[in-house]
Amino acid sequence: MPARVRIQRLLPGIASTALVFVVMLILFGPIVLLAVLSFDHSTIIALDWSGFTTQWYRDAWSNTDLRSAILNSLLVATIVTAISMVLGTMCAFAVTRFRFRLRGAVAGLVGAPLVVPWLMIGVGAAIFFFHYHVPGLFPLSLHSVTAVQVICTFPLVVAIVAARLVRFETVQEEAAIDLGASRFQLLRHIILPQLTPSLCAAAIFAFSWSFNNFEIDFFVGGYDETFPVWVYSELRRAPNLPIINASSTLISFVQVLLVWGVWRLLARGDGDASSQTATVVDVIR
C-alpha cells in the first residue's frame, strides 16, 4: 500500500522533529517563561496576564545587594578569564608543541579539575585555607573565589586551545621557520591568526564558567556574595520573587548573546559548518 509506505518513510522524520522539539521545550520553556513573567505586573505566578511593567527591573536595579553581587561576579569572572587565558594558552602550547617525558602525566593533572566535581574542589579549598590560614586566601573572600575558580577554569581553555593547535597544520609553521621567520613573526603572522577564533571562544566560555560557578562561590566566598549565591540565598528565604525573574532574565539574555557571539566567531574562523561543529564538540569534550 503506497499510503502506508509513505507514512513509514515519513515516520523517522516526524519522530526526530518531535524529539528535538520536546527536548528543547523542556530545556528552554521554563527560562522563556521566566522572561515573560518578569514583565508581568502580578507578583504571583499565574497564566493570566495582568499588565506589562518594567517595575521589577527598576526594583532589581535599586537593590544594592543584588547590584553588588552582580558586580562581584563580573569582577571575578573578568580576572579569572584573563588569568585562565594566559595559563591555559601556555599549557596548551607546552602539551601540543613539545614532546617530553611526563607529558601524559602533565596533561592528566591539567585535565583533572574538569573531572573532579566542583563541590570537592570547593570544600577541599575551603578546609585547606581555613586549616592552614593561608595568607591572602583566608578569611575567605572574593580573592579565594578567584584563586580557586582559576583552577576550575583554565583547564577548559587548555582543552579548547589545544584542540585547535592539534588540528591546524604545522606545515605552515615549518615553512615560516624555513623562510627565516623570527619567533615573534611566527607567533604574530602564523599562529595567532589561526588561533584567534578559538582564543575568543575560550575566553567567552571561561567567563561564562566563572560567572556560573555556584559551588566554588558558595563554599569559598565567605561573606562575599556573587550572583549565583545571591539567587540561592534569596530562594531559600522566599519561593518566588519578581526581582529574581528580572535579574535572571537579564543575565540569561547576556548569556544568549555570548553563545551567539561564539557562533559568529566560529563562522568567521572556519568556512564550513562541519568544522565549526567539530570545534564546538572539541570545546565540550
Binding site: L34, I177, W263
Partner: protein, 297 residues
C-alpha cells in the same frame, strides 16, 4: 630545496625549539595546580584521618570513616543518592542517545544551531535554571495551573509530587547535564561511516539490529565519556536537591555541605568528601578502562 638549505632550515628550527623548554611554559600552571588543587584535596584526606574538633586537629584515627559507614541515616542517604543518580543517568541516556543520533545523521542544516542550543543550555546560570523549574513545577506552579485549566487536575488537589521530591530533582538534574551526555555520544556517532548503516539497511537489517550491532558498539566510547562526565558528578550534587528536592531526596552532596558549613564537623565532612572523591576516581578509571577495551576490539 637544496640539501644545504634544508639542513640550514633544520638547524634553525632546532635552535628555535632549544631554550624554550615546555617546563618554562608549564611552571606557573603547575605550581598553581599544586597549591590550589592537589594540596587541598590531600588536606581533605589527611583531615579525614585525624581526630578533630572545630579548632583542634591531631592524632590519627579511622573514626571519621567508621562513623560514616556505621551511621544508618548516612547509609540511607547514600542509597537515595545512588537511586537519583542512576535514574537520572538512565533518563539522560534514554533521551540523549536518540537525540545524538538525530543530530549526527538526520539534522542536516539544523545540526550546528541545535548543538549551539545545547551549549547554551549548559551556559545558562544553573541556579537560574533550577529556579525556573521551581516556577513551573510548584503546587501553584505553571504546570499545575495549566492542568487545572484543562480540567485534568482539581484546584483543591494540585499535583504535589511535582516539586520538593525526587521527581523534580531527576528532571532538573537531567536537564542540567544533557549537554554532556549528548555531545560525546554525538561526536562518537559522527565518526561512524554512514555507509556502514546503509549497507546494513540494504542487507535487510532491521532498525533494532542496526542500533544494537552498529550504532551502540561504535558509539560506546562516547557513552563512556558521557558516563564519566555526568554520572560521577551526579553523586556530589548539592544545589539542585537543596532547591527543588525535599526530605525524601536528601543527597550526599547536601550532607557533605551541611557537615562542613553548618555542623562545623570538618573531620566527617573531609572524610565524606574523600570517600566521594575516591569513589569517583574508581568509577572514572573503570569507565575509562572499559572505553579503552572497547576501542581495541
Amino acid at each position: 630545496m637544496s640539501a644545504a638549505a634544508h639542513t640550514a632550515g633544520q638547524t634553525r628550527r632546532r635552535r628555535l625549539a632549544r631554550g624554550m623548554t615546555p617546563w618554562w611554559l608549564l611552571s606557573a600552571p603547575l605550581i598553581l595546580l599544586g597549591l590550589l588543587f592537589v594540596a587541598p584535596l590531600l588536606t581533605l584526606f589527611l583531615i579525614g584521618f585525624q581526630h578533630n574538633s572545630l579548632f583542634n586537629v591531631g592524632g590519627w584515627t579511622f573514626d571519621n570513616f567508621s562513623t560514616i559507614f556505621h551511621t544508618g541515616s548516612y547509609r540511607r542517604i547514600a542509597v537515595t543518592t545512588a537511586e537519583i543518580a542512576t535514574v537520572t543517568m538512565l533518563v539522560q541516556l534514554a533521551v540523549g542517545l536518540p537525540l545524538a543520533y538525530v543530530l549526527a545523521f538526520r539534522a542536516g542544516r539544523w545540526e550546528l544551531p541545535l548543538i549551539l542550543l545545547l551549549v547554551l543550555a549548559d551556559e545558562l546560570n544553573p541556579i537560574v535554571r533550577i529556579y525556573a523549574y521551581r516556577v513551573v513545577l510548584g503546587r501553584e506552579g505553571i504546570l499545575n495551573r495549566a492542568l487545572e485549566a484543562v480540567g485534568l487536575v482539581s484546584s483543591h488537589h494540585p499535583l504535589s509530587w511535582l516539586l520538593f521530591d525526587k521527581f523534580a530533582v531527576v528532571v532538573v538534574l537531567s536537564t542540567s547535564y544533557i549537554t554532556y551526555t549528548v555531545i560525546p555520544v554525538y561526536a562518537a556517532m559522527k565518526a561512524i561511516d554512514p555507509a556502514l548503516i546503509e549497507a546494513a539497511t540494504d542487507l535487510g537489517a532491521s532498525w533494532t539490529v542496526r542500533a544494537r550491532r552498529i550504532l551502540l558498539p561504535l558509539a560506546a566510547p562516547g557513552i563512556f565519556i558521557a558516563i564519566i562526565l555526568v554520572y560521577i558528578p551526579l553523586y556530589t550534587e548539592f544545589a539542585t536537591p537543596t532547591l527543588v528536592g525535599g526530605t525524601g531526596s536528601y543527597m550526599l552532596g547536601q550532607l557533605n555541605a551541611e557537615l562542613i558549613t553548618e555542623s562545623g564537623d570538618l573531620g566527617q565532612g573531609a572524610a565524606l568528601s574523600a570517600l566521594l572523591l575516591a569513589a569517583s576516581g574508581v568509577m572514572a578509571a573503570a569507565a575509562y578502562y572499559l572505553s579503552k577495551l572497547n576501542r581495541l576490539e
